[in-house]
């Protein structure tokens, strides 16, 4: 039997074959990349807070403004609020591209007007959007008591309003004039159904999809 005295050559393989210089470069590269990623991602933390300002949502300097004319009793408005409007909020409002402004178009009945007034009373306490969402989520038929004063008060409690202030606000019809003026202004602008949007002034009727919104706002979104 033939035997060899030559030691078995130990082959450096895999990562151990890579020279220390490459390791050093890799570590530096990873750190640079992480630093850039952190810098790119940073504004995210700042823009998510304090988005709401009264009945508007988003950066006042956003290139696209979406004015929504809606009635709290209108079921399609509810769908739109939960659907496209939330998508727009996630995709464009948070990054400062779009501002949403809610305008009342209370035309279905008395409960529409009372609900709109209540939302404005909530607005004075900085809870317009919470209250509006609560209304949309509690729709149950039109003018059938879903938005009776008692129910509106219950919603006010749910969103944590100061109830004394809320009751005074509602009893004095503080915002009736504002709701009526908004509805009238809508009619003058050609609104006759809800929801109706004005995307930088361009009218779009109905609960449009995110894709339709994007196609209308497409060229404006890059500004």
């Amino acid at each position: 039997m033939k035997s060899t005295t030559r030691p078995v050559k130990k082959k450096k393989s895999g990562l151990s074959a890579i020279s220390p210089t490459y390791w050093l470069i890799s570590i530096v590269a990873v750190m640079v990349a992480l630093a850039i990623i952190v810098l790119v991602g940073l504004p995210a933390a700042g823009t998510n807070t304090a988005m709401a300002n009264g009945n508007s949502l988003g950066d006042a300097k956003a290139p696209v403004t979406v004015e929504v004319y809606a009635d709290f009793q209108c079921p399609i408005c509810g769908q739109f609020d939960r659907g496209t409007l939330k998508q727009i909020e996630d995709k464009y409002v948070k990054n400062g591209k779009v501002r949403i402004v809610f305008n009342h178009y209370a035309f279905i009945g008395d409960e529409s007007t009372r609900a709109a007034e209540a939302s404005e009373c909530a607005n004075t306490q900085g809870k317009f959007w919470e209250y509006a969402d609560t209304l949309f989520n509690n729709q149950a038929g039109e003018n059938q008591g879903a938005f009776s004063d008692a129910n509106l008060e219950k919603f006010a409690q749910q969103v944590g309003l100061d109830m004394d202030k809320y009751r005074t606000c509602m009893q004095q019809n503080t915002y009736l004039g504002k709701v009526q003026a908004s509805t009238q202004a809508g009619t003058q602008r050609g609104v006759n159904s809800t929801p109706t949007l004005f995307i930088n002034g361009q009218m779009a009727r109905g609960a449009i999809s995110l894709a339709s919104f994007e196609s209308i706002a497409g060229t404006l979104l890059r500004q």
């Binding site: 030691p7 050559k9 130990k10 082959k11 450096k12 074959a17 890579i18 020279s19 210089t21 490459y22 470069i25 890799s26 530096v28 590269a29 990873v30 640079v32 990349a33 992480l34 850039i36 990623i37 810098l39 790119v40 991602g41 504004p43 995210a44 823009t47 995709k91 990054n95 400062g96 591209k97 994007e214 196609s215 497409g218 060229t219 979104l221 890059r222 500004q223």
Partner: protein, 226 residues
């Protein structure tokens, strides 16, 4: 069919072809079949333009098959030279892609994106900026640097150009994959131009990945033994 002729769709098909085409080019370096690699790139771009991915994928597969039919061992030096040449080509393609996106930023022209707004959305999102600087401009600068470095003549004792390409490509790859994550998870819109750039920088990174010359290694081991 007419839709294919619109600039947007044409761009998408072209980019799809380009992505399919750089894969045979990438693998042709190790097999010393650069002509097949380049042929594959051109054929995929043309077939992408004609029928999009439907034709570009099989064409890419065909060229890969042709390349992998070659079994003879290729000397390390030849492979290294091929890799550098392909890095040059890929960085030129990268300059084209990142250059277009940068131009779109500064000119205000919308990014052609097959009729969808995905590219617009991605490139106008806040993730497309590092302070006031568009990310596309950073990419363009990176590709230009890689191109310049890849053109520096290679010598055995001159390792730094490849070292810098490796470092730069690693930074670029990590950034591109982060941005891809943002596209998919946050913006929910994928931009073809960005995916193309992501493919290019990842391949450049893989090509610049440190490799040990087996012959030199053996010689070194022998020396150590002696």
């Amino acid at each position: 069919m007419f839709g294919l002729l619109t600039p947007g769709s044409l761009t998408d098909s072209f980019l799809a072809g380009l992505i399919c085409g750089v894969i045979p080019l990438f693998f042709s370096t190790g097999k010393n079949r650069l002509k097949l690699g380049f042929g594959g790139l051109i054929a995929c771009m043309v077939s992408g333009l004609l029928l999009g991915l439907v034709l570009a994928i099989p064409v890419s597969g065909f060229f890969l098959w042709q390349i992998f039919r070659q079994h003879e061992p290729v000397p390390f030096q030849v492979q290294a030279r091929n890799r550098r040449l392909v890095i040059t080509i890929l960085s030129l393609l990268g300059i084209f892609v990142a250059g277009y996106l940068t131009w779109s930023h500064f000119s205000g022209e919308p990014v052609y994106c097959g009729g969808s707004n995905s590219c617009e959305l991605v490139n106008s999102s806040r993730f497309a900026y590092l302070g006031p600087v568009p990310v596309a401009l950073i990419g363009l600068t990176g590709y230009i640097l890689i191109l310049v470095l890849s053109l520096i003549p290679q010598k055995d004792d001159r390792q730094w150009p490849l070292l810098l390409i490796f470092g730069g490509a690693l930074i670029g790859t990590l950034l591109q994959w982060y941005l891809f994550y943002i596209e998919v998870a946050v913006l929910r819109a994928v931009c073809y131009w960005c995916v193309t750039s992501q493919t290019l920088i990842t391949l450049i990174f893989l090509l610049s990945f440190p490799r040990q010359d087996p012959a030199a290694e053996e010689a070194e081991a022998d020396r150590a033994e002696a």
